[in-house]
Symmetry: C2
Subunit: 760 residues, 2 copies
Amino acid sequence: MRSLFKAAALVLAAGVGATAVNAAESLQDVMKRRGLSQQDLMAAAKTYVPTGKRDEFLAFSSGGQSGQVIVYGIPSMRILKYIGVFTPEPWQGYGFDEESKKVLAQGRIDGMDITWGDTHHPAFSETNGEADGQFLFINDKANPRIAVIDLRDFETKQIVVNPIFKSEHGGAFVTPNTDYIFEAAQYATPLENKKFYPLEDFNEKYRGGMTYWKFDRKAGKIDPKKSFSIELPPYSQDLSDAGKGPSDGWSFTNSFCSERYVGGIEKGRPPYEAGCSAKDTDYLHVINWKKAAELVAAGKAKKINGADVLTIDTAVKEGILFLIPEPKSPHGVDVTPDGTKIVVSGKLDTHVSVYSFDKIMKAIKAKKFESKDPYGIPVISMQDTLHTQVQLGLGPLHTQYDSKKCIAYTSLYVDSQVAKWDFCEGKVLDKISIHYNIGHLVTMEGDTTKPAGKYLVALNKLSIDRFNPVGPLHPQNHQLIDISNDKMQLLYDMPLPLGEPHYVIAIDAKKLKPGVRYKVGTDTRTDQRHPGAVRAGEERIERNGNKVTVYGTLIRSHITPETIEVEVGDEVTINLTNLERAQDETHGFTVSTYNVHASVEPGKTASVKFKAFKEGVYPYYCTEFCSALHLEMQGYLLVKPKGWKATKKELAKGTYTEAEYQAIVKRVADTQAVIDSVVGYITSTNYKDFPDVVNLVADATDQLNKIPDAKSKYEAAAAKKDWEQASLWAEQVWQYQVKAADIGLRAKTYLEQNGAKVIK
Amino acid sequence: MRSLFKAAALVLAAGVGATAVNAAESLQDVMKRRGLSQQDLMAAAKTYVPTGKRDEFLAFSSGGQSGQVIVYGIPSMRILKYIGVFTPEPWQGYGFDEESKKVLAQGRIDGMDITWGDTHHPAFSETNGEADGQFLFINDKANPRIAVIDLRDFETKQIVVNPIFKSEHGGAFVTPNTDYIFEAAQYATPLENKKFYPLEDFNEKYRGGMTYWKFDRKAGKIDPKKSFSIELPPYSQDLSDAGKGPSDGWSFTNSFCSERYVGGIEKGRPPYEAGCSAKDTDYLHVINWKKAAELVAAGKAKKINGADVLTIDTAVKEGILFLIPEPKSPHGVDVTPDGTKIVVSGKLDTHVSVYSFDKIMKAIKAKKFESKDPYGIPVISMQDTLHTQVQLGLGPLHTQYDSKKCIAYTSLYVDSQVAKWDFCEGKVLDKISIHYNIGHLVTMEGDTTKPAGKYLVALNKLSIDRFNPVGPLHPQNHQLIDISNDKMQLLYDMPLPLGEPHYVIAIDAKKLKPGVRYKVGTDTRTDQRHPGAVRAGEERIERNGNKVTVYGTLIRSHITPETIEVEVGDEVTINLTNLERAQDETHGFTVSTYNVHASVEPGKTASVKFKAFKEGVYPYYCTEFCSALHLEMQGYLLVKPKGWKATKKELAKGTYTEAEYQAIVKRVADTQAVIDSVVGYITSTNYKDFPDVVNLVADATDQLNKIPDAKSKYEAAAAKKDWEQASLWAEQVWQYQVKAADIGLRAKTYLEQNGAKVIK
């Protein structure tokens, strides 16, 4: 058998592997063959990201009913990650390892596991009204909850359950310095938990509301004890936005079905859709949240289900809650970047209504109200507060802003268009058709104080004929639009393969600085040292009664320990620490048919727990293809009958000869020569100028450093003529070499392709 | 308030909305700004798919530990769908509705729910060795199972559990007419279920094996009763392939760790990776499955765990099982398109070994064996069976074929390259670097009898520096390579956002003909009429003791019924039929905090079931943004205390005046004029030549047909001066109009953009 690394030397010498451009077909040939227009080619050039280059913006999309968050790059529109948030997801081990199970357990409601979520509106943490790239928040409409994702590692760290709502659509939105994250109730219900009132008591006993969650940035967590809510009438509160700049301290919340209609099509009554859209206006809720927080601090809140709630009466009495009519069945409410105006879209009106914050304040100061609503809340008139109304088209929903002054973009659901317009002058500038039926839209950092312009993404609810058919359940279609010029240009159709995103937010990629590894032994859900973490050489199995605890490690390509022996009925906990430092060297772990899985990234400690309820032999293995010997990264869980006693004491011996041992030793020596030549090349260059290569070199060194110990073992065994042990430890040395060579060759290629210079 | 459809008329007349190409920046400007080379532009032109155009091939990828299947287009590399297979997935309702729960329940093992899977190798059903686009099969390595996905609707229909294995890596592979789907065991265990033997008994009591699942194409299901297995030695059986053409009737299966090493690093023994790779060769298993099936039919199988198993002894005695040495720790085994050769890659060897089926048959006929393995299986020598060996590089793994004769592509894991080579002549033709550490690779229909050439996808295990960082857990990187010319050209880097795909298969998109709707009332998991299906007007709620069954329907934008009243402790089943015919008009359904969700595509009937364990008011709603009035597609589950008696009998009345009613009626009339003009335009064209438009027209007509009934209701109410009912039913008429107009405008745009002609 020819040796691996003799060939390696040949391959390296020959330099095979360089890529050449195929000149057989010209660009014009390709365009003709593929039916591309000049405009298509331009769109391709504006969106294509070559290998190794990065996207300019990262988008964070709600995953809708998937209960996840979707991360994609702009302009390439390539999806980079689905983050498990409300739904267990085994690839990430989310909901499968004990640490993430604890996060999901925070989201239990009335003692019940909720294994999904209906995510709607993601929000970045902000500093001075700008997206700061530190945290992401997202809500669950069906089971009113908010989750906190840390953008240092893109993991979900916390879930909080709303104490008084049964659904919430209008979350998450943050105040300009992320003091509060807020969410609005959607469908009115009694605020008391598990309390029934009939629909006949709807007006009296059902309520909406707003919850303001206090965020502790240092802890990276919401603090429920410092959070509060405001009781609101049973209008279906909907989307919200926080004031900024001059309007900082205020929040604005839409509503629909202020008709307070309760349906009943099965009894011959008109359905909700008719009864909830019959009137020409609903109510924009204007709330002074800063003063509300002070009132709560001053003890003016009432406890409902253990949470602080300001009643409508208190809010009215204290002058922190006002209503303004808004046309008709509104959807989006979006504060302008300078905080002076609030844009509301009435989905059954053809206009957007631009309210002036200054005018609102003037009316409040002058106590100029046109009426009170049935709950005694002062109503300010539209004419006293409107800056302008602009006729855009059919079904306006949401508005986002441009880096250019006064420029806004609004989605038109029924028209299937995006309108570009001027909210200062009140005029339409451009329209573009999308495919089809747009819900939200997003511009880059377009809901912050400093929109970045450049791109817009249309979040279309129907794709219909845009993609290859994949059955009755279609993907959604996010369309990328170039907004850098006067006319909008459609660039790209992106199918969404899982979930129905509602809202997306996008951030300059340079603002994100996620890590690639953890400090060794980290419980990544708490960011604390994991009590089950061990270093190499400290692995052990402990038994305490029927509780067996394994303290194990993972490194290419073995799991320590390789055998776990337990008895039927034992409760088994397996802690695993990934000892790798190399970027992207994740290991996975599962035990056959015991329904456990963990994803263990470099430095992470994860644990799985199960009851060994059945006798037998259950292989465990690494589920990530982590090295050439990945399949051999295996072990056995042996579940013995209670009281089983061994009779045979010896494992079967392999048959190994001195000649075989010598052949392996020879192979090791040949391979070392190749490694030396690669190392020689790398160290002859300015490789230290390339951080990625420095990491690769550190990682290769990790592997090579393991060799002396294995070498002393094979030499000792050879001295005792134990050719099996001698051969296998020599083979292990070669395995370390193969891994080091793998990394070394990658580093060498990187240096060659990135213009490293030979400096010595 | 200005009316919606007055504006519509204006917008239509003005023709706003046309897109213009921005001429401000030239192609050269864009290339310079974005740092694109000519080669990059060529790659962009080769991969960009403009809006509304389709991909040429569809790829079906294993989702690795996600337990799902990933569908993406080639060359755009856009992911079109994640299909739930072994893991519950709420967007699809998979594992949340009762119908799909039954599919997942088929995958229970030893009474335990397994809520994930480690999917590895998808396979298309084949007809005469060609992918036929009818079914997809995929395995679960961790919990040895095979799933059947119907490509008419991209839904998982069946899961079967392997009766004798505890893990299986080498599946799914199909015979040329899909008579059998087979899978190979991976880590040897006792075949008897839940039976412990110590590792000291490894050689005697642990076994590998092959299972051949009989597929009933008409039923679209695996028939476990007609399936069988073959016991094999405790070598870790690995990948497999079916013979085709001359080799049809035979199967070929790799193995590693034929050393039968059992690890023990925690006891100071060399780890598995050393002990399992110490010898220079392992064994290729050559099995006559056709004769095996006959032997089983003739009663020669033994029952193990209730399944038919041919023992090693029987297989040897009957002459259906042979071994051939193969170098070293092999991974892929791939039969050439013409079925004459078998290519094996030894991942620790630098060569691929090309075996001749003809030579294997000659040796078997001549009974020319070099030895027997420890289990008495005849071993044929390498020299008697090799066609050639070709030195490719470091870590060869898998091989795929081109449409061009004798051309093969092999992945090189350690070298991070793809080698193009000639398996007839035995020479290397080209190499290309990938990023990084490639596992499988795929060419279009490249493992069938008729490879389609054109593209190759490299399934890289590490992406490291290729994409914007998203935390320690990186996406995988699938790289698209153009293989249509002599030199391979890298076209595209595609991140995989969820799961670690192992193998991908790709099919000419034209071969797939999935449906876009179901026959109304279909249980899509059984393809039978759902017992809970009802037509419009037949909705009802039935009580039987404490069991409450709802027979409901979904259509834009209402759920019938809109109120469900139960008592605490009732068992509630809600059946929902989607009455839509329109493509892509899916509705979702959830009940607040009861952890139920359903995705109900057009025609589907789905049911959710839960115990109403808590008193209170729980909104339910449609979770898909299905129309402008989507948020109003809502209802209430009222869970009353036991024995609760109503006191108040009247719902609160809304305040509606005759003037309001008249305004709505006026709006309805204005809107009808707009609809008439749109309908007039559509019917003046050759719209019947556009099937998509015909569907849209049918769907708009569905909405308009609902108007007479609602109209008679508003007129009757107005006659009685019941202005609330009159207004709401008139409003409902307008809602139907809005939906019809939405569709009509889309149809009009489609016709204008697709060159429809005015014919009358």
